[in-house]
Amino acid sequence: MKASRIDDPAISRSPLAIQGLTVSYGQKPVVYSVDFITPPGSLTAIVGPNGAGKSTMLKAALGIKRRLSGEVLVYGEPYEQQSCHVAYVPQRNSVDWDFPATVLDVVVMGLFRDLRWWQLTRRHHRDMALECLCRVGMEAFAKRQIGQLSGGQQQRVFLARALAQSADLTILDEPFAGVDAATEKAIVEVLKSLKRQGKTLLCVHHDLSTVRDYFDHVLLLNVRRIAAGPVDKAFTEKTLQEAYGGRLSSLQLEQIVMPSATTQKV
């Protein structure tokens, strides 16, 4: 019976297939029975109001949080066996930036899997980390202590660390939260270039007005899965209304879904 499920090509080829995932704090489900199959090679936004369980869902998928029920498969296998295919960028404020480490040290952490305990960090490891820093425009800061960086720079360092992992699926938790416009642009460029290389990206996102510009797929979440699919199909006034309740005014809604507002009239 187990084999039949992995034979399902949509699941076995998907970088992250979530089925019936439920996570709860005490008696209150934060994520309830969510199914989502990430299309390979997509740049997907996970969108929903505050407390909708977006970050929690990702953490449960990565085994960081315990799940109440459900199953998560990476290319058809449990995450534990496939973690080398996945890079995770946690929320920037989840770590202590006062930690005594340089920017380069943090990026080298992305090479964790390549380094056994007896191996020292060699020049080519450092070069590789520097190259990743270049891609996010932070090479000048390599020797800087991480506490001296601005919020946007910290976020870029995190992205560079994920690049160093050279994973097929990159999961980002609110990479645009509290960053400056230049950083936002730089990050989007990196994400799009990764997508061009055929990588898959999954990204918790808050700013509804940029969803259309940045992403091609979307998962609308509010504890349950509200809608999922290509942005044109799933990101509509109706689904947004359902995800956000009355928290969006009709004017906001119109602006967000402008391009298709006329055709998708409910």
Partner: protein, 403 residues
């Protein structure tokens, strides 16, 4: 047993009764002030304060021994202890505010170095060879046996004063604990109130030294508040429960120690408090372990049951072992995982229920956002009947027209 009963009813003489009363008042005031400290998430500050009393105690002892020949005068020792504890408190504040070190490091550093200094000073006293130095070690683990009536009276009186002070200041403390910035806009000087809170904590610690000893006095300011937290979510009620627990612990501890000579009071008070804590941890109906684990299990089963039934209704395969087990136990599927007629009926109901809820969510997104249970409960239990009726009718318009 008999001795304990007599002690419990305050009929073992004036001194013991006085000590019992003092310990109860001490427990109550420590519980009260400790609750605010717990709400500020700074419980272990009291650990630093209590260890920091040792150098003061020893210096006071040395000074008094040099001046009067005997260093065991309680008020003098308490003043010394208070001064060095204040220094320790200042050190913790200073290190955690002015440097990059966290409060935990500040507490640990102050606690260990000042205690180390105290130990050095104790060896100085031993080298001085004055009388009564054995009296000092009583402050490590507490000694109420052989306490003078005057000392017991002093402790009881101070504890009572503290109790009154904390009671009078409870609202200001609460405001600061809850939201220091908001308190500041309301004209409460947050920093001053915070300092006052810590000073009262310091006073409780110093008074408690003689009763429980400096290592265990921390317990009086932590365990009763944590116990209180299990029984209520309302802060002032928690403070009251903590005070009662503290008093009860003092009462039980002192009376138990009178059962046999040589039993230490401090550990017995702490263990009584801990006993109350364990009872609450296990059996509190709201946050107790038994209740929580049972509720979690019920909830988990419910989620799996609903997910399983929906999968049956949608004719999807089920893989989750727990889901299968739950369905089997309800008789909804056979041993070979084929749904029974009962199961199919239940699945249809669950699907219907789910559709009603999802209709409700799309029609009334605002109201739905305020509901906690998110559709695991039967809809007719959660919503007024007319709402359910209108949902039903919206779902089956053709049926209605046929009628």
């Amino acid at each position: 047993m008999d001795a304990w009963l007599r002690a419990l009813t305050f009929s073992t003489g004036y001194n013991t009764s006085l000590v019992t009363l003092g310990a109860m008042l001490l427990g109550a005031s420590a519980g009260m002030i400790g609750s605010f400290i717990l709400l500020r998430k700074r419980s272990l500050v009291s650990d630093a304060i209590s260890h920091a009393t040792l150098p003061g105690l020893t210096v006071a002892f040395i000074v008094m021994a040099l001046l009067f020949g005997d260093g065991r005068w309680l008020p003098g020792l308490m003043i010394g202890a208070g001064l060095s504890a204040a220094f320790g408190l200042w050190g913790v504040q200073h290190i955690s505010e002015r440097t990059r070190l966290g409060e935990d490091s500040a507490i640990g550093a102050i606690l260990s170095t000042l205690f180390g200094l105290g130990v050095v000073l104790i060896t100085v006293i031993q080298a001085m060879n004055t009388g009564g130095q054995a009296g000092l070690t009583g402050y490590l683990v507490g000694a109420t046996a052989g306490m003078l009536a005057g000392e017991a009276q002093l402790i009881a009186a101070c504890a009572l004063l503290l109790l009154i002070a904390v009671f009078m200041l409870r609202r200001e403390f609460l405001l600061v604990c809850f939201d220091a910035e908001y308190a500041a806009t309301n004209g409460v000087r947050a920093q001053r109130v915070d300092m006052l809170m810590l000073l009262l904590l310091l006073a409780v610690t110093v008074i408690g030294l003689k009763v429980t000893g400096l290592i265990l006095v921390v317990a009086l300011t932590i365990i009763p508040p944590v116990t209180g937290r299990f029984w209520t979510d309302r802060p002032l009620r928690m403070v009251a429960i903590a005070a009662i627990c503290g008093a009860l612990a003092g009462y039980l501890g002192v009376t138990l120690s009178s059962v046999r000579t040589g039993l230490p009071t401090g550990p017995l008070i702490v263990l009584s408090a801990f006993f109350l804590f364990v009872l609450s941890l296990l059996f509190s109906p709201r946050r107790g372990m038994v209740a929580m684990l049972a509720a979690h299990y019920r909830f988990k089963t419910k989620v799996h049951l609903r997910q399983g039934l929906l999968a049956l209704a949608r004719q999807e395969a089920i893989y989750d072992a727990l889901t299968l087990r739950v369905l089997r136990r309800h008789g909804f599927i056979r041993r070979d995982n084929v749904p029974t007629p009962l199961g199919l009926a239940a699945a249809r109901d669950a699907e219907h229920e789910e559709q009603l809820w999802s209709l409700y969510r799309s029609l009334y997104p605002d109201e739905a956002a305020h509901l906690d249970h998110l559709g695991l409960e039967p809809i007719s239990d959660c919503l007024p009947p007319d709402t359910v009726m209108s949902l039903e009718s919206r779902m089956h318009p053709p049926l209605r027209s046929a009628l």
